[in-house]
Symmetry: C2
Subunit: 325 residues, 2 copies
DNA sequence: TTGAAAGCGGTACCAG
DNA sequence: CTGGTACCGCTTTCAA
């Protein structure tokens, strides 16, 4: 691969001049003929600058690190994430997805710090300590953003509190006269990040008696749960999200139960599949900020780290009654 | 941030020794007391090596670049992708997601090359020319893998040919006695990468007369299509994937049509939602390789670029009859 | 067994 | 307006 020295040689100028021309340096005036020579030489050689060398010299990168677990977190969140990536890209950041499953907070912080990211956006898969945040900051991170339920000292808290979803669901069911409420908890690994707070949220609602119901994402598991439904004595169920809710509702209907007369069913995330069956599924609708919005927040934090410190609440949840409750 | 020089100073040794100790260099024998001193100094300072500096010196990176468009490509593919990322991470690669929407092949190749990735895995959002592949190779890419339907000269072709899905669907419907077949084509932007080959595949089936039917991912659009269904004179429909199929089937049932008597409905991707309605949805099941498998392929290509050159076929598709056809 | 020093590719200061 | 040069942090010969 040709370097800037090769370009300089071919153009008959110095490396400094090459750098000035190719970066459109404002501070320095370069004559038009020279500019042309340099550009043409670069073109001819197929010169491409070396990002690592540049950021080594600059002392900072444009990397935004996004730790990922490989969990199917559901359409609204993955849409949000990909929008976020896209928006960051437009602001000229380089998004690095760092699979961090199984790493401790210390290990993760160290591994991330090696890349000297200018910002880290953690969804909460990894529990970061204040010390970990400090490590990242020392390594050049101008913003460490956590999106879990808990705030971490030193980090910018952008709260995405899933417990609110559980609260809305349970409150809605209580309002409609139910006391004993089942809450489906996915057995599938990795989903606790979402399911645990949702369960806790439901538990926190006054007058509700909550019964956790483990269930896997399969027809068989749903059928098994439906088969023993009558013995549970539950008049209502909040099923983690719309997919689990639909799976369970289908099984309950097959079992001969009437929805909502015998059992009220509530989902979450307001997915389109909730409208495929009759009765239509009641759900908890979630309002996520746009990826653009968060990207701008990150950008501002990077440019002016001191400015943004207060806690931002990112998520709103509201119950939507359809026909299943 | 402390550098290796700081560690050296604190430990009372040279930078070279620090490097040897921290990288467990085999070629050099360092006394145990020295090792301890160095390790402790590094620990004490919270030293974290600088990845960019290291790879600048080494002359190569461990970056695998994954261009992304921000399109909802559906569960089986996104599961495959996240599994792939995870497997690459385990092989000690750094996965960089590069949002490349709207870039031309030339622009994309240039932007990617700046990072000097050791491998590029393109899903086919960007049409790469042989020249672009050459640019990437010159920039240090030991493997350029394309997963679209078409092979690119110089790249390792890993074929994921979506047209096979259309072929299977149409063939299944023809086999069951249908001639005039509607094919739902999503209006949603970005999905042509999948939908166009699926349509073409269906078109290629002998004895089938194909009618493309644009439809958006919404109840309204499905209802509108269902409302004019009787006037279309189609006995069967292949609906891009299970989600569109379910949306349409729901609308057709609401319209008073019987499935499969009046109209046979076929989906693709074998999603769980296909089993929520009655009749259960017939579908084209797709067999994707495991992320592990592809990651190993990439790894082998990186280590021995010459070895792998023949075209790998990654995807198998097979029609699964349930009750809707 | 350890240290000195060169150099990876760019950028930006200071001279001329 | 352009060139020389020091330096970013790390690895790796080569000498001592």
């Amino acid at each position: 691969m040709p370097t800037s020295a090769d370009v300089a040689r071919l153009a008959g100028v110095s490396r400094a001049t090459v750098s000035y021309v190719l970066n459109n340096a404002e501070a320095v005036r370069i004559s038009e003929p020279t500019r042309r020579k340099v550009r043409q030489a670069a073109e001819e050689l197929g010169y491409v600058p070396h990002a690592a060398a540049r950021s080594l010299r600059a002392g900072h990168t444009r990397i935004v690190l996004l730790p990922t677990s490989h969990v199917p977190i559901g359409p609204p969140y993955s849409a949000f994430l990909s929008e976020l990536q896209w928006s960051l890209r437009r602001l000229d950041y380089t998004v690095v997805e760092y699979g961090s499953l199984g790493l401790s907070g210390d290990e993760a912080a160290r591994a991330w710090a090696e890349l000297r990211p200018v910002a880290v956006i953690s969804l909460g898969e990894i529990a970061l300590s204040a010390h970990n945040v400090a490590t990242l900051k020392r390594a050049g991170a101008r913003a460490v953003i956590t999106m879990g339920p808990a705030g971490v000292p030193g980090a910018h808290p952008l709260v995405m509190d899933q417990s609110e979803v559980g609260v809305r669901a349970a409150a809605h069911l209580v309002e409609r006269g139910h006391r004993r409420i089942g809450v489906v908890v996915p057995e599938d690994e990795g989903l606790e990040l979402f399911s645990a707070p949702r369960l806790e949220g439901a538990r926190s609602v006054a007058d509700a008696v909550i019964e956790p119901l483990p269930m896997a994402y399969s027809e068989e598991s749903a059928a098994a749960l439906a088969a023993r439904w009558r013995s549970l004595g539950l008049g209502a169920v909040f099923a983690y999200n719309d997919e689990y809710a639909m799976l369970l509702m289908r099984a309950l209907l097959d079992e001969g139960l009437r929805v909502p007369e015998d059992v009220a069913v509530m989902g979450a995330d307001d997915l389109l599949i909730g409208r495929l069956l009759r009765p239509r599924l009641s759900t908890v609708q979630i309002e996520l900020p746009s990826g653009d919005h968060l990207a701008e927040l990150v950008d501002r934090a990077v440019r002016e780290p001191s400015e943004i410190t207060q806690r931002h609440d990112l998520m709103a949840a509201v119950a939507v009654r359809r026909e299943s409750t």
